[in-house]
Point group: C2
Chain length 234, copies 2
């Protein structure tokens, strides 16, 4: 007999609003790497594990599909999205596009409380880097960028950023350690914040470009090492 349901221990859910809860749990499982890229997400298995019926699971899967976390294969089910090097390229292109805009906009609207929030986040990153906590660093990194997008004051932009980040986390979640030198990644954020505080669009864009370029190379390298020439079947 073949191993059926994933061995991921998911607690049984309470009633009402099951779809969102299922979507969240599946998202967590994916971005945390417990559901690997390419893994099948069988509705029946998930439903059994959560103690619910298949209907809410299906709806949640559709949601995640539209977010790019799952891939739907008609009559065959849902699978965790596999990201090629090209996918990562596309995602970072969009991140660049979105975060440039967000940072410039954030600078225009910067309030003292927003500025303080960004400073605190940066301080947290430095602290985590000093303590060499690679998992927390990645999370803090993400939160810093999210704060910038939040500061831009465009709810849709924030949702867009969240979507891009989720997809990238499919690959980032596969490893605990994203950066060789955590201190460096904390340092590369400093000029970004400085540029935002100073409010020079050109400098903001330049530093964002540099910083995201670094992350892009890291993740690109990672994807290379993870996909040892898997032939694509179109």
């Amino acid at each position: 007999m073949r191993a059926m349901s994933p061995p991921v221990g998911l607690p049984v859910l309470a009633e009402s609003d099951l779809v969102r809860q299922v979507a969240r749990r599946l998202t967590d499982a994916i971005v945390q790497g417990r559901l690997a890229p390419g893994a099948k997400v069988a509705e029946a298995a998930v439903a059994r594990e959560l103690g619910i019926s298949r209907a809410p699971v299906r709806e949640a899967a559709r949601l995640l599909e539209s977010q790019g976390l799952l891939r739907a294969s008609p009559r065959r089910g849902f699978f965790v999205r596999e990201l090629s090097a090209r996918d990562v390229d596309e995602l970072y292109d969009l991140r660049l596009c979105v975060e440039r805009h967000a940072a410039v906009e954030a600078a225009r609207r910067l309030t003292p409380s927003l500025r303080d929030a960004l400073r605190r986040q940066l301080a947290l990153m430095r602290e985590l880097a000093r303590r060499d906590d690679p998992v927390a660093i990645v999370e803090a990194d993400y939160q810093f960028h999210r704060l910038v997008c939040e500061a831009a004051g465009n709810a849709r932009l924030l949702r867009l950023f969240d979507g891009l980040a989720s997809e990238l986390r499919i690959v980032i979640g596969l490893i605990g350690r994203l950066y060789d030198d955590p201190e460096e990644i904390a340092r590369t954020h400093e000029p970004v914040l400085e540029a935002i505080e100073a409010g020079h669009p050109e400098r903001i864009v330049a530093h964002i470009d540099h910083h995201i370029g670094v992350a892009r190379r890291e993740v690109g390298r990672l994807v290379q090492s993870l996909t040892p020439t898997i032939p694509e079947i179109p």
Copy 2:
């Protein structure tokens, strides 16, 4: 060599995927203005009308919700999204952000066939403007911008653009005539294409900004006139 199915060009069968079909029908109804903003989309009614059960309708509705076309109110159902002036602002902010990037990228990758496609689309717009076909003008306008995004060679960017365009069509679909002067809207596209062909990023951005600014004002004006101080009930 992989000897698979013969290269005989057989069309893929129309999968009996009800969810996509329902999603498409609902989308069409919304962007064509047959379903007005705020209108209730009752699953049971839609299912009855289409002669199917509620399950596929629910899944389709979830899809449209994640695309921003519908709004879900727990235990009360789905409603066509109502766009405030602020929503339109957000959408145009993102359009600006996305299309600047797309145009610059399109210029970098411009091939003769792409260039010709853009020229043909522009010629079509001029022709439609001359014939004063306001509905077709809006569609051709959309297609021109979509081509630019397609030319950027980033599938996600294109999907993103489609999503923004869909949402905007909620309001645009309410009227047949978007622009006072169709000829003008055709003319404002010309410098955009010229800048892309010339490949000057600054000029591209400048012209995109100007052109989208025009559309933004038009739609903004429209939204103002459509929402005569409707009190928001959160």
